[in-house]
Structures are given as structure tokens and as C-alpha cells.
Amino acid sequence: MGFDATDKSELRSMARQGIRILWMLAFATVLGVSSAQPLTAADPEDAWPGLARDIFNGRDLADGTGVIAIEMPYRAEDAAIVPVTLRTALPPGDTRMLKAITLVIDQNPAPVAATFQVGPRVTMISTRVRIDSYTNVHAVAELSDGQLYASAVFVKASGGCSAPTAKNAEEAKANLGQMRFRQFSKPADGPTGGPREAQIMIRHPNNSGLQRDQVTLLYVPAFFVTELHVWQGEELVLAMDSGISISEDPNIRFDYLPNGATHFRVEAVDTDGHVFKREWPVDAAM
């Protein structure tokens, strides 16, 4: 067949290195399955360093431990609805305030799920996101001095028939723009003055625009909620600037401190320019 000596020895050495690579692959597989930790920055597959640079224009990100925590199930049970809770805390005596939290799902097609601007009294935000595959999720808190703090968790997308898309497309269309607002008391606190929780829900399909209609062969246009504002009286409690990783029927639960206002006001805007507005009386009985 005409292999010369060099070719043969090179082949042998390549075979040896091939075996080494196989072992490395085997180890990588074992590690990949058992590790619940976020991928580290040294991993070449880690999208985060590049994402962080692009999203935050190269600003420094400090370790968010003790400042911002992400609560998510390790396994995304339903890829279309993965609950995520962001909690912030500042050490006693730290006079800075939380300004914003950016939620990033590294491996999603559009990784920035949302940026939340918060009023002076918000420490917790819960929402629901879509998860496309195994991914790190980052939350970056910005404090009033401009310093950014980042935390991360790893989430395993579930297999099975779980897909990050609408389950009932007709209903999603029919109920567009409906809103609900719920107010919860926090049993741990007394009847007055303590923090409370509220939840805003909007009916919206939040289509990603990444899907192709098999009949028309056209891409389904992106159609999602881009902005949401919640005011307590005239004071802004929460604002969300959001993308396609937020689940269908956007749903945000947050804590706040009552400021004596009599009404909550909510306004949402979607990619088609629809504006959804409503007001609810503050439930004084709670």
C-alpha cells in the first residue's frame, strides 16, 4: 500500500494519542455527569467569559457570594417552565443599594433572559424561564456604586418530551394580554410595616421567533413581552426588560415594602407595540 516508515510511526503515535484522547473523553464524561458545579472559567467550552464581556461591556464582575443567590432546580423538570428565584442581601452596615439584576442563561439562543431594575425595597424576584440545554445560569447584581456581582448555578435540562415551547398554542393566542395581580402576606411578619410579596401574571405566548412553520415554510415572527413596570403609587417597585427566555405567560413574584400607596399600577409592552395596563388596589387587610 506504500506507507513509508515515517507514515507508519506517525500513525502509531497518533493511535497512542488517540487512546489517550479516548481516556480523556471517558473521564470528561464521568466528570460531566457527576458535577453539579458551574463550569469554571478555564473550560474552553464555557461561554460565560465572552458573554459577560459582551453584555457588561468588559466591566469587572466581583464574586457574588453573599450578595446575590440563584435558586433553581438542579434538573429542569419542564424545559418550558423552569422556576428561578433571585435573592439579594448586603452585609450589615453596607450602605449601598441594589439597582438591577441581569439574568443570563448561558446556553440559550438569546442568553440574556431579563434585566430587572428594582425599587429601594426589593430583595427577592421569582420568575420562570425556558432552558434549551444543559447550562450555567448567571445572575449579575448591580449595586448603587456601579459595582457588579455575579453568581452562577448549573441546570440540567430534562430529557423526555419536555420542550421549551407553548403547550397550548390556541389558548395562548385567545387570551393575549390578560393580567392578574396577587398579593401575599408574609406570615413571619406582623400585621403592619413588614415586607410583603406580590405576583404579576400576563397572558402572552412569548414566541421566540426561532421556529419555522412547516406549512408556509416561513419563520414564526418573534412575539414577546419586552418591558414590564410595576408601580406602588408613584414609586417604581420593579421594571423588567425581557427577552425570549422568559416562559410563556410571564409571571413575576417579588417582595416589597408597603409605602402607604393605595394602588398598584402595571404596564407591559410587547414586540408588536401592544401596551397592556391595569391597576389594582393595595390589599390593606393583609
Binding site: 422556576p83 421569582s126 420542550a163 415551547t165
Partner: protein
């Protein structure tokens, strides 16, 4: 309409895409590529040694009614080892032709179903019916693409294929590797809206397209002669039901479904069972799930907490409970929150 200015900071760019990171991954030296090729060849060699290829051995089938055959899938998750063979698939033989109901979780399973059909009859396959878009029921479609059959599905099936297909293909490629080779989501040439009758030669099949229940593209097939009902995943037995459409819609569908003139049901998962008794376990589970979620919602419990609570009293009754109950509870909670 951007109000970031009110906070005195610049808005982060939410339209940052991951393309650049992916492109970087392709940068790779030639030598590394050659090494990778050698390693791949070795992997391929090893895997073919480990998995002996019996060329499309016929699936094991049972004749549950005259001329109506079923291969019962394992109550398991789809893996490379089981070739995705977890759903019930079957076929009905008429005087002139054959109708296939679901094709399995891989092209290989589809080919083995075709081989099983050929051990029974040489009649042409006139219809390939997909009961809904889930991978374990349709990934075998390509095995029948050259049989000249018309593919039949719910009018929402093409949309489900386009919206979910790419995700299913990549998610199961991760799990099943090259067992997924050749999978094509063949869209139906005939779509069913309401009811349709198909004739395979002195044998009429009544197809019924359902409103959103297990999924938003569920289809049932009633064999009028033997009064046998292929329910697709509108019915689960032993295998925990999976809510991927609407819990309320599913519970509502159970009433008209129970009135179907059938003696025997072939569920999407689990054994064939007398009709409509076959619905009892599933109805009890779905009602329990709904009741638990409603109580949790009324109490103001967050969804993450509800996911690990709702339905757990049903645990001992079902296989694969751990794999699906929290998912069902999550989906049910999000749906029922709007009641």
C-alpha cells in the same frame, strides 16, 4: 419606550447572541482534527463491537384483536440501548392494506416494526398514523417513507413538528447518539380535524382529533370491526401520565372519550385493557394533581415548592413517577394559576 435612563444606567444588551462563542469552538488545528478522527474511528469500532447488529429483527408483537397487532414498549425513558422503544406501536390489517399506528422512538425501531408487519402480511401499507408529536411515537416515521403510505396526523401536528422538532432532535441526539441517525419528522399529508374515516379494505378506522389534552395534537384511532381503540397518550396505564398540553383539557376529554364504543383499549404506554375501565387510574392521578395544585395556589405557595409536593400521594401507583411527577406538577400549577 426604554426607561433605563430613569435609573441613570445603560441598558444591558439583551440581544447579545452566542454565535461568536460557537464560532470560536471551530478553531482547531489540523493535527488535532486528525487525532480526533483516529479517536472517533476507535470509538465507532468499540461501539459496533459492543452492540451486535441483528439486521432489523422483527419487533415482538401480540395480536390483541383479530388482525390488530401491538408491540408493547418498555416503561422506561428513551435510551440508545432500548432504541427509543418505549411507546406502544401497532398495525391493523384490512382486506386490501395495512394501517400503522405510531412508528416508535428511532428509525431502527420503525424498521423493526416494518419487519414485524412483513411477518404477518405482504399487503401494502396505506396509512401511517401518528397519534401525536412526541419522539417515542414518531421518530420511526422515516422507516416507512418509501412504502408509499400516506402519513396522517392531527391538524396541529405539523406545527408541533416545526415548533418542537429541532429541540427534540438535538436533545435526543445528546441522549441516544447515532441511534438517532436518519430520524425525520415527516409531516402528515392528511390532517385530521374533528373526525375522519379511513378504509383499508372492508375495515374502517375512525380517527378523532382532540382539543388540547395530553398535547395539542392528540389523535385516537378506533377499529370499528373489533371495537379496539388506540388511544395514543390520551391514556397511560402503569406508566405515569405526562401532562404536556392541558390538565384541564385532558380531564375534560376523558368524559367523551369514555363514551367511545370500544371494548378494548391499547394505551400509548402500558398494557391493553378493558374499556372504559382503562381510564380509572389515569383519571384518579390527574384529578389528584389538579386538586393538590389548586390548594397550593390558594395558599400562595410558590411554584418551585408546589413542584415537589403536588401529586406525591400517587407515587406508589406509577412507574417513572420520579421522572415525570414534578414536571407534571409544574405544568399543572402554571396552567391552573389562571383559573
Amino acid at each position: 419606550m426604554c426607561r433605563w435612563a430613569a435609573f441613570g444606567i445603560a441598558a444591558p444588551n439583551r440581544f447579545v447572541m452566542r454565535r461568536s462563542a460557537q464560532e470560536r469552538r471551530w478553531v482547531c488545528s489540523r493535527r488535532a482534527l486528525r487525532l480526533a478522527a483516529v479517536a472517533t474511528l476507535m470509538l465507532v469500532g468499540l461501539s459496533s463491537l459492543a452492540r451486535p447488529q441483528s439486521a432489523d429483527a422483527a419487533l415482538e408483537i401480540a395480536e390483541v384483536a383479530a388482525g390488530l397487532f401491538v408491540h408493547f414498549g418498555a416503561n422506561a425513558l428513551m435510551t440508545a440501548e432500548n432504541e427509543g422503544g418505549i411507546a406502544n406501536v401497532g398495525f391493523i390489517v384490512g382486506d386490501d392494506a395495512v394501517a400503522v399506528i405510531d412508528t416508535g422512538g428511532s428509525v431502527r425501531e420503525g424498521r423493526r416494526l416494518l419487519a414485524a408487519i412483513r411477518t404477518i402480511t405482504a399487503k401494502p401499507i396505506r396509512y401511517v398514523i401518528n397519534t401525536h408529536a412526541h419522539p417515542d411515537h414518531v421518530f420511526g416515521n422515516a422507516a416507512f417513507a418509501r412504502e408509499g403510505a400516506a402519513f396522517v396526523g392531527h391538524r396541529n401536528l405539523p406545527r408541533a413538528f416545526s415548533v418542537r422538532g429541532p429541540f427534540y432532535l438535538s436533545a435526543f441526539r445528546r441522549i441516544m447518539g447515532d441511534v438517532l441517525d436518519g430520524v425525520e419528522l415527516v409531516p402528515p399529508q392528511r390532517s385530521v380535524d374533528g373526525e375522519t374515516k379511513l378504509d383499508i379494505g372492508n375495515r374502517v378506522l375512525t380517527l378523532h382529533a382532540w382539543a388540547t389534552a395530553h398535547t395539542d395534537n392528540d389523535l385516537t384511532v378506533l377499529d370499528d370491526i373489533t371495537q379496539t381503540l388506540f388511544t395514543g397518550d390520551l391514556v397511560f396505564l402503569r406508566h405515569i401520565p405526562v401532562v404536556d398540553g392541558s390538565l384541564r383539557g385532558w380531564l375534560a376529554a376523558l368524559k367523551p372519550l369514555a363514551t367511545f364504543a370500544a371494548k378494548l383499549a391499547v394505551p400509548g404506554h402500558g398494557p391493553a385493557a378493558a374499556w372504559p375501565l382503562a381510564l380509572d387510574d389515569e383519571r384518579r392521578y390527574l384529578e389528584r394533581l389538579a386538586q393538590d395544585c389548586r390548594a397550593l395556589i390558594a395558599r400562595g405557595t410558590p411554584i418551585a415548592e408546589a413542584a415537589v409536593t403536588a401529586g406525591v400521594s400517587e407515587k406508589s401507583h406509577w412507574e417513572l413517577f420520579e421522572a415525570y411527577n414534578a414536571r407534571n406538577a409544574t405544568a399543572a400549577f402554571a396552567e391552573l394559576e389562571w383559573e
